[in-house]
Symmetry: C2
Subunit: 242 residues, 2 copies
């Protein structure tokens, strides 16, 4: 029972080791299930949280809106992720968390989480490690935003998503579903929607990939990852799945 927690177990085993007794502690976490509609925000910038959100199915993303109206998408999330785990220790959100597509989630009360982590320090270390891997993703994205042009950034995002999606069986044979619009891609890449469109066309005309109707097909992984200067080690997978 409570098969919902399996995605979390898998995620934790992707970035570290989880002993049998620790697994029990994780399995015993009380979950409150919910279904989110596309665009729903489960945490808003400035809000004070008392729970975190485990993504079970579908996509989520974190975003930051600036006073001038511009928006940066900070990360995309796949099942097994706890995108707002940081709120366990930083109660007040400094960004927002929203559903990219319809999705299934499980809320975990911070009080319950705290109790569990106190009981099993090894699990606490794993959760800590998870937030550190999260930060590692930000570092790479900062680097790409600061140094790479539109093609490089886009290629990098598509490479990262392929590797992460494979680890949760949502990608195989160089293809995956990615339910975002070009405008959302633009918010993630720090470029305009028009330029997203042109960059996609450029990558496609060079035979690197195709992205149509929310389906990504990578035609030439070697040249794409080369263009992206992609190196999956920042994902800190315990066993590399790339």
């Amino acid at each position: 029972m409570a098969k919902e927690v399996e995605v979390l177990i898998r995620r934790l085993r992707t970035i570290g080791t989880l002993g049998p007794e620790e697994e029990i502690v994780v399995r015993d976490l009380p979950l409150r299930l919910a279904t989110l509609a596309k665009g729903d925000e489960v945490a808003s910038d400035g809000e004070v949280m008392d729970q975190s959100c485990l993504l079970l199915a579908g996509w989520m993303h974190r975003l930051k809106d600036l006073p001038d109206g511009s928006r940066q998408i900070l990360s995309f999330h796949v099942p097994g992720d706890i995108p707002d785990l940081q709120s366990l220790h930083l109660k007040k959100m400094d960004h927002s968390l929203a559903a990219t597509s319809v999705c299934e989630v499980a809320f975990i009360k911070h009080a319950d989480l705290r109790r569990a982590l106190l009981k099993a320090p090894g699990v606490a270390d794993l959760f800590w490690r998870d937030t550190l891997v999260d930060a590692g993703g930000f570092r790479i994205w900062m680097t790409m935003l600061g140094q790479a042009n539109a093609e490089g950034r886009m290629a990098h995002l598509f490479c990262e998503l392929y590797v992460r999606l494979r680890s949760v069986d949502m990608a195989k044979e160089m293809r995956y579903q990615f339910p975002v619009t070009q405008t959302e891609l633009a918010h993630a890449l720090g470029i305009t929607p028009v330029h997203v469109n042109r960059t996609l066309q450029e990558l496609r005309s060079r035979g690197l990939l195709r992205f149509e109707h929310h389906e990504m097909i990578i035609h030439d992984w070697d040249r794409l990852s080369d263009l992206a200067q992609f190196d999956a080690s920042y994902l800190h997978y315990f066993v590399d799945v790339s």
Copy 2:
């Protein structure tokens, strides 16, 4: 004795509370002191670490070099920071840590740190929190790199540094020392050195600030922080010092 650890105590109290017994645990951490020359790397991309580095005096920065030769400076660090604390759980570095200026540091063995955190879970939470605040800084910088132009990014960096430096008594009355070259600034801001120079001139000609001989003087905080869309809450200071 061991007054070196005071900067760390202060830092921890800046982002949370530290009880008397927890303070003792922190004070008992074995430190190995060292002096670094400008440019020295205490941790390099790919390296496996068994210690972290507490900055006691001077400046450090973290950076990521890409295969094509471009470099992104990810963060600047001031006394009290442990810039590579994440290596406690992510042994293998995914970026580098270097001395911006001559500086004094204290190395803390991960084994000692782990022992201390096991003894005092409240301290573990504080250190975890510190890494989460670190990640919050990355999120804001990602946002500025993706959405703001050269002026906005530069203004934001200068605002952030003023607030952080004030909390460690290294800035007052709208001025502080900042020992970087315009080329290093360029690596942090994701623009070219030439454009750094022109942007500095522009900000100066508008009466917002002056930056000469490594000294920053902010002439108009209100307009500068407005241009930066700066909101210090992402620093997650327990008591706001801005």
